[in-house]
Amino acid sequence: MNPPPLPAEKSGVELIRLHNLCKTYFLGEVDVPVLKGVSLRVDRGELVALMGASGSGKSTLMNILGGLDRATSGEYWLDGDEITALSADDRAMIRNRKIGFVFQSFNLLPRTSALDNVMMPLAYTAQGLTDREARQRATELLVRVGLGDRLHHEPSQLSGGQQQRVAIARSLVNYPPLLFADEPTGNLDSRTSEEILRMFQKLNEEEGITIILVTHDANVAHHAKRTIRIRDGLIEAGAYTNEMVGV
């Protein structure tokens, strides 16, 4: 299986750079600061684990990194673009083209075949693929995650591990440079978890996709090359920004 062509690289090895990122929720009269100046850097081809206890700001950071939320202040450079200031529609386009999502609860469309589930994000892609191309691409991806014989199965006919593999295929359908996995093994038994994590490793090693595993499970984090720990809205370890601090 040939690796898919990645979108033309913009520049350098740096994929993500956060500089002094803050996020504050305004709840009525009380301001709740959740991220208090996060700076970190992720290079292309890395497999990073983002760890933190609940309430540490991990989810908030992940939402901002995933382009679902906006920071209150600071800079977020993704693939060479500053995206803090982008509108909701532009962020949707960034998510579509540059970021793949894998969720804890799979989030597949019910009563929809694996193939259609994988093709779903293509409906929101600006450059239109023909039905044939879309089908071909989805089939290839499903074959790659080992579900070549389950193309027309619906989620209810698939096991948890298989469902998560469909979700991985879906996240890859636009060939994004960045893959987010939010507790990808949270709903799986340990054996299946191991399988899924291997798959992430394989994708990372063989195809150079940058993967961020968001987890609170140290076992999961062991599969990553680097671990970023967040605590009380600040990066505790693994920010990999020593040379950036003075920037």
């Binding site: 939402n63 995933g66 679902l68 939320d69 909701a88 529609d89 949707a92 386009m93 998510r95 579509n96 083209r97 999502f101 969720f103 989030n107 469309l109 019910p110 009563r111 929809t112 259609d116 779903m120 994000p121 409906a123 929101y124 892609t125 239109g128 879906r170 996240s171 636009n174």
Partner: protein
């Protein structure tokens, strides 16, 4: 390409819950079906209705001469002898909105047959087209011909009352009755028309060529120049044992003298022209056409008043139109209510659907759907539901009206506009009632939506 994909996605989403989709659409299906069935039945009934009212004379327009005034004394309507038979021909020829036109002259005379005599309520001199104008078929025989009109032929057709009074059980066809001083051969018997809307017996009538009536029946009298309007002329003194007419100061010429030396007639006039418009809707344009034509023919300056008047059957027309507008309004109300009910059902289910699919919406947003993509998806789903409901409703409605036609024998008439409007309306119901749920869906925060349990 893009729109087609949106439709396919919507169709797929609806197929994921077929039962619910069908039940949701039921309101629209029933609403549209009811409207279509009512429209078809209503149309049939109202066509029948307007045909019935038209035979009462709703399409008829009467052209009568205007009033004449000499020395400040106005003689009243009909006194100005201005209408000619040629006017009738011209109206028929030049007014496309006029279906038929016939000149009419009247007379009054005693009818006699075999020892019985009777004074017909109406003696009408006209052309064969008169029956067409009045929508009045013959029971037996045939009408006199245009040739008879030109040749002053001594023929007539009679109504049922005349037949009863003069002939009893005898067959009057081919017999000759004496009208005033002329013998007229009966060539046809009119079908029964009954009383008019004003209560007079319409079957108490003798119809003859207008030339015959004008020049033979009443033409002998001195009042010939005043047309058939009323005129007690031509009454045979033999058949008038109790004369009621005013005393004549000067001896009137005998019939023999009149026949030998007819009074100088400047131009032949008729007392009115009866016309029929093509349909009830064409009455106003028909009046305008005739007014223009007659003004031109009579050489009336634009600032001068007309020397004729045109009257329509306003009362009958009003009945016709009021019945039809009532029908239309009732249908509209029924349609509006049922479609609102159906639309609320659609909105209800779409709201449930949005809540139920919150995670799907979150997911779609996470993988790159913009809020307008979500709005469009749910809107298209609602429109698709309503549209398919509308189409099924049209089929059901047509089926229902076919059943009514078949079993109850009611007339029905397919209404293309109703079908087109139904499709448009059901699509708009989808847009109107689908918009709020779709808007709600598009406003969801993807983070919240993804976390929704």
């Amino acid at each position: 390409m893009r729109i087609y994909k949106v439709f396919r996605t919507a169709l797929h989403a609806l197929r994921r819950n077929v039962m619910r989709s069908v039940l949701t659409t039921l309101g629209i299906i029933i609403g549209i079906a009811a409207v279509i069935a009512m429209m078809e039945i209503g149309n049939g009934v109202s066509t029948m209705n307007s045909r019935a009212i038209a035979s009462l004379g709703a399409n008829n327009l009467m052209v009568r001469p205007g009033s004449a005034a000499t020395g400040g004394f106005n003689y009243g309507a009909g006194s100005n002898m201005a209408l000619t038979p040629q006017d009738a021909d011209a109206i028929l020829r030049d007014c496309p909105m006029i279906r038929a036109a016939a000149p009419v002259v009247g007379a009054s005379a005693q009818a006699i047959y075999a020892g019985k005599n009777y004074n017909p309520q109406t003696i009408t001199g006209t052309t064969p087209m008169y029956l067409d104008v009045r929508d009045w078929p013959l029971d037996e025989g045939a009408c006199f011909t245009d040739q008879d009109v030109r040749s002053l032929a001594k023929v007539c057709i009679i109504g049922h009352t005349i037949q009863q009074e003069l002939f009893g059980n005898e067959d009057p066809l081919g017999k000759e009755l004496r009208l005033g001083s002329v013998n007229l051969r009966i060539v046809g018997i009119l079908s029964r028309k009954g009383a008019s809307t004003f209560g007079s017996d319409q079957d108490d009538v003798i119809i003859a060529p207008w030339t015959t009536v004008k020049f033979r029946v009443s033409g002998s009298s001195s009042s010939s120049s005043s047309g058939g309007g009323g005129g007690g002329g031509g009454i045979n003194s033999l058949s008038n044992p109790y004369p009621t007419s005013t005393l004549q100061l000067y001896p009137s010429p005998s019939q023999m003298q009149a026949a030998d030396m007819p009074a100088p007639i400047r131009f032949v006039t008729v007392s009115q022209i009866l016309t029929a418009a093509v349909s009830a809707e064409d009455i106003t344009p028909a009046i305008n056409e005739m007014t223009d034509l007659l003004r031109e023919r009579h050489r009336i300056h634009p600032e001068q008043p007309e020397d004729f008047t045109i009257r329509d059957m306003t009362e009958l027309m009003n009945t016709l139109t009021s019945v039809q507008t009532l029908f239309g309004r009732l249908l509209l109300i029924v349609a509006a209510i049922s479609l609102v009910v159906g639309g609320v059902g659609i909105m209800n289910i779409m709201l449930v659907s949005v809540t139920e699919r919150t995670r799907e919406i979150g997911l779609r947003m996470a993988v790159g759907a913009r809020s307008r993509d979500i709005l469009r998806q749910f809107l298209v789903e609602a429109v698709l539901l309503c549209l398919s409901g509308g189409i099924i409703g049209i089929c059901l409605g047509r089926g229902a009206s076919a059943l009514v036609r078949y079993f109850a024998n009611w007339p029905t008439q397919a209404s293309i506009p109703a079908i087109v409007i139904s499709v448009i309306v059901s699509a708009s119901v989808g847009i109107v009632f689908g918009f709020y749920p779709a808007w709600k869906a598009s406003r969801l925060d993807p983070i919240e939506a993804l976390r929704y349990e």
